[in-house]
């Protein structure tokens, strides 16, 4: 031991050299998979802070780019909104001249899903608002993905929602593109079939199905489903049209109940939207 210490003291630099050479040779003697493993392990430890910094920088760059893109979008949408408001006013004037019935929109009241019935297929939901919130039976219910169903029973502070995913809740629908009308019936989960559409009608996969407004219960123009497949039916006279709702009926947590009709002019979205941010962005981007 003393000899080793003496040699180390006398030849410290050479000892270090020999040790490092042995370590290097040891690394070289490792089998290739082990070398790769050691390499990756050391590299991962060494590069972690740099990678973290890179990720932060990348994130900053991404957010910056996204912000630029969104600012452009807001500016474009703001201009588009102004144009649409002018169209709306013009349309209203023309409708009045033609003595059409004044078109109205509906107020959407949010409600939280607080329960489900015990049926395995979950055809009914319980929501936390009822007649005290102005709800009445057969009022349409929507979610972010489109039409969900309608109120089947209303109590003072709760209500039952009968979902579209139920055998006894067909909805009259219209193809948004071709205006072809049919009756949408539930098949399973969120898959539906549009029935009573003639074989010569123009319906294509990817078309959006909207409520037709026929029957007067559910107003016209709300998204219900998207056509997934169109094929001739076995009878040769009609089309077999499969559609899929964008609503996940098994995971609904909040819905909106359409209540009273209000004129478009009183609509919060069109007239009371906060446009100050849009104005700021537009001014900032002006050359």
């Amino acid at each position: 031991m003393h000899l080793f210490e003496a040699v180390f003291e006398k030849h410290r630099d050479r000892t270090v050299l020999v040790v490092l050479i042995i370590v290097s040779l040891g690394l070289m003697a490792l089998p290739e998979p082990a070398q790769l493993e050691v390499g990756r392990s050391i590299l991962a430890r060494l590069m972690a802070p740099a990678q973290h910094m890179t990720a932060v920088m990348h994130d900053y760059t991404r957010v910056h780019a996204e912000n630029e893109r969104l600012a452009r979008m807001v500016a474009t949408l703001s201009l588009e909104r102004e144009r649409l408001l002018q169209f709306r006013d013009e349309r209203e004037r023309l409708r009045r001249l033609a003595e059409f019935k004044e078109e109205q929109t509906r107020k959407l009241v949010p409600a939280e899903v607080i329960g489900r019935d015990f049926d395995r297929l979950q055809t009914n939901l319980v929501i936390d608002k009822g007649s005290s919130a102005g709800f009445r039976e057969r009022m349409p219910v929507l979610s972010y993905g489109g039409l969900v169903g309608s109120l089947s029973q209303v109590f003072e502070n709760t209500a039952w929602v009968q979902l579209l995913s139920s055998k006894n809740h067909p909805v009259s629908c219209m193809d948004k593109r071709s205006r072809v009308v049919g009756v949408l019936e539930w098949r399973f989960r969120n898959f539906f079939e549009l029935k009573h559409v003639g074989a010569v009608e123009d319906v294509m996969a990817g078309d959006t199905l909207l409520t037709s407004g026929f029957g007067g219960t559910i107003p016209k123009g709300y998204v219900v489903a998207v056509v997934t497949r169109v094929a001739p039916a076995s009878d040769g006279l009609s089309l077999r049209i499969d559609a899929r709702s964008l609503v996940n009926f098994l995971a609904l947590e909040e819905v909106f109940v359409m209540t009273d009709e209000i004129p478009w002019e009183r609509s919060l979205f069109y007239n009371n939207a906060d446009t100050s941010l849009m104005r700021d962005i537009l001014l900032r981007r002006r050359p």
Binding site: D13, G26, M28
Partner: protein
């Protein structure tokens, strides 16, 4: 600061090697800034620090090609040790420094190629004389340029082997 400077140095020389060396290459011959880095460090800090520095720099270089993990560490450890020993023993001057860089680069290539191409020694020798000599010359020139640039920037450099000044 004593420990930060070598790390910054390594990063700068690695960046030089990765981004500049191949742009100023003449055919297959290009300067080795990492060798310059290890030699300058060894000359300034002595054989022990030089050996450790060479080992770690070599290991970092090896990580880019873990199939030969340890090869650069071995070659650069020897280089750092040699430069450190030399720094404590010999006389100053640009010509000597040029020779030191040249010999260091060539010695590095000898160790590297002999191990890398073992047992095909013929191929190793051909590569050594077709590429190694030119690279050693280019590295020596690059080393002198770097050393002078550092001196102009007021950095701590090797002006006399065995002594340093600001």
């Amino acid at each position: 600061m004593k420990h930060i400077t070598p790390i910054i140095g390594i990063l700068v020389y690695l960046a030089l090697q990765a981004s500049v060396a191949h742009r100023i290459a003449i055919g297959a011959v290009e300067p080795d800034f990492i060798v310059v880095c290890v030699v300058l460090f060894g000359l300034q800090r002595g054989p022990i620090a030089g050996s450790f520095f060479g080992f770690f720099v070599g290991l970092i270089v090896d990580l880019a090609n873990p199939g030969f993990l340890g090869l650069n560490a071995l070659a650069k450890t020897v280089l750092g040790y040699g430069a450190g020993r030399l720094g404590a023993a010999t006389s100053p001057g640009v010509v000597v420094l040029f020779i030191v860089f040249f010999v260091a680069s060539f010695a590095h290539d000898i160790i590297y190629l002999l191990v890398f191409m073992w047992p095909h020694l013929g191929s190793a020798l051909v590569t050594l004389f077709t590429v190694g000599l030119g690279s050693a010359l280019y590295t020596a020139i690059a080393g002198i340029v770097v050393e002078r640039l550092l001196a102009m920037l007021g950095a701590r450099v090797v002006t006399t082997l065995g002594q340093t000044r600001r």
